[in-house]
Assembly symmetry: C2
Homo-oligomer: 352 residues x 2
Amino acid sequence: MNVTGHTRKLSGTAPSIRDVAAAAEVSYQTVSRVINGHPSVKPSTRERVLAAIEELGFRRSATAHALASGRSRSVTVLTANTTHYGYAAILQGIEEEARRAAYSLGIAVLESADESAVRAVVRRAADTGGGLVVIAYDPAGVAALRAVPAGLPVVGVVETPASPPGGDRPWVWTDDRVAAEEATRHLLSLGHETVHYVAIPSSTRRTAPRTAGWRAALREAGAPEPRPLQGGWGPAGGHAAGRRLAGDPAVTAILCGNDDLALGVLRALREAGRDIPGEVSVAGFDDAPSSAYLTPSLTTVRLDFAGLGRAAFGLLHDVVEESARVAPHPVSVPELIVRESSGPPSARPARR
Amino acid sequence: MNVTGHTRKLSGTAPSIRDVAAAAEVSYQTVSRVINGHPSVKPSTRERVLAAIEELGFRRSATAHALASGRSRSVTVLTANTTHYGYAAILQGIEEEARRAAYSLGIAVLESADESAVRAVVRRAADTGGGLVVIAYDPAGVAALRAVPAGLPVVGVVETPASPPGGDRPWVWTDDRVAAEEATRHLLSLGHETVHYVAIPSSTRRTAPRTAGWRAALREAGAPEPRPLQGGWGPAGGHAAGRRLAGDPAVTAILCGNDDLALGVLRALREAGRDIPGEVSVAGFDDAPSSAYLTPSLTTVRLDFAGLGRAAFGLLHDVVEESARVAPHPVSVPELIVRESSGPPSARPARR
DNA sequence: CTGAAAGCGCTTACAG
DNA sequence: CTGAAAGCGCTTACAG
């Protein structure tokens, strides 16, 4: 037996379980047992193997493990965007939990909602062999969730669980509808005759939950129901919508589909010389980190996106590990944060 | 020969090259040649194989390919953060190029700058077998870049190329020093006696490029050099720093290490009743998407982070593909964007 | 408790 | 131009 055998290893290649086996003088199958925590290994043998692993700096090849075992301890997030606050925060939550569970994290961006483009991205993501989390807040995400082949472990982060787009796949959500109702009621309770709405894009052609909640609250109060304006995702869209609203003296309260939109609306209102909240109240959605520092600071609805991401990963983990305890779909509670941008309508009659 | 052989495939498992080979009546090695675009395959054979691939819906296993070939067409980004504007935009740039090159994208977050924690993250990232991009804008990132074992394909996104932390590894950067000089000169040219600075954290213990550029511009103009204040990354830190500055009537111009910091400073100044830019001018760094919509809109320096990310991936791609054309280190040019938050100092003497 | 065999789905020389 | 063999680094039954 060549006692120096395991020492003359070329420095170029990483040590394999065979190298470890040689060093520990056992078969490589036993090495496999040790690194997998298999119970039936004699303690003294385990020690020797562990020592050899330590000495050689052995690391099990993730790809060989994946190929042989058929599972990969990885999760890839399918999303149309990585920078908007909500998306980024969900991603962050998923990442935190994935790291804790020692899963690797992949990102696949859905650049288009086009059927075949979406299928291509989903296929490639599925090729990794790991689990999938798809953020279905927009048409591309919804299409992706639908395109995931049955049998693959997947959980959706969806806008609304009423007929979730992925069929009976597991999902997590926040109750945006109720959140929008709350925000709208807050504005109405201040004395505004009605509340205008600047909407974010909907994930489907159906009425989005935030829009539905806003409308429900208006209806409940018997307030007029103005047509919602489409704002897109960013401040530019909010600015454009705000410009149109700023011209109408009857407008005294505006709810926005997210804080970025509200930022644009705020700017347009100021440009038009309207005081906030003196003449017009504005509320946003999401409570982005900067919203508390705007002037005026923004009244908004805080949504726990990071928690949502953590829950999504937790659910996925349950699914792939097939542990009996399938976590209940967690619903985080939105919280209204009242700040400086909302207040009672001005005393002077603003209506026509 | 069983002509129905390839049809009775169980629907549970994905087809392998052997299934395709059987269907096309060739050896599986030939299938391998076809999917790898190997030239020496008779056209008619290629046709048959392609048809079989199409019919069976064959997809080459990424993990088997990685194991057998030793390369994985993947990149993982090591970063301390995924949500701050600069980091997120770099990530987005990397993602765009990775997608174009059909590389899969992984993220590994450095939760701490602790030596052993960083090593663990780097090891796990290296286990994927793909290339690495590390964002070395902070101590954790710098430590990670340094911890990457020699021989692995890696590129760093660094703060400054003067003695880059990763030794002679390839890197990309933006010239933050010059950018800070420009911004400071702009403020001085408006007539301010000097410019105060609220800093972002440095990647090392040495003077950060932005701080150095600010100081150089001051020196060049013979202006007093106030001590920089540490602001952290977010608006809360900017707010705290702004509060201290707001109390000093001698302060008429403030440069901030990023736009989030500037947002907090703006807020603190307003709370102290100081007019912007009437009494105090403020400038930021980065040109985040919301900065143009603040009131006042923010004078800032635009940095092409997405371009930086694209360049980083491009360089990495060159490295792993070993194509002779090693891209030159691309340097994007920062651009000063003058908006409403900066202006000449007020006529009334603000000094002691 | 531990080894020898077969296999995961590919690629890479090596023959012909 | 195409096939048969060996191997990538592991895991999974199967024996003993």
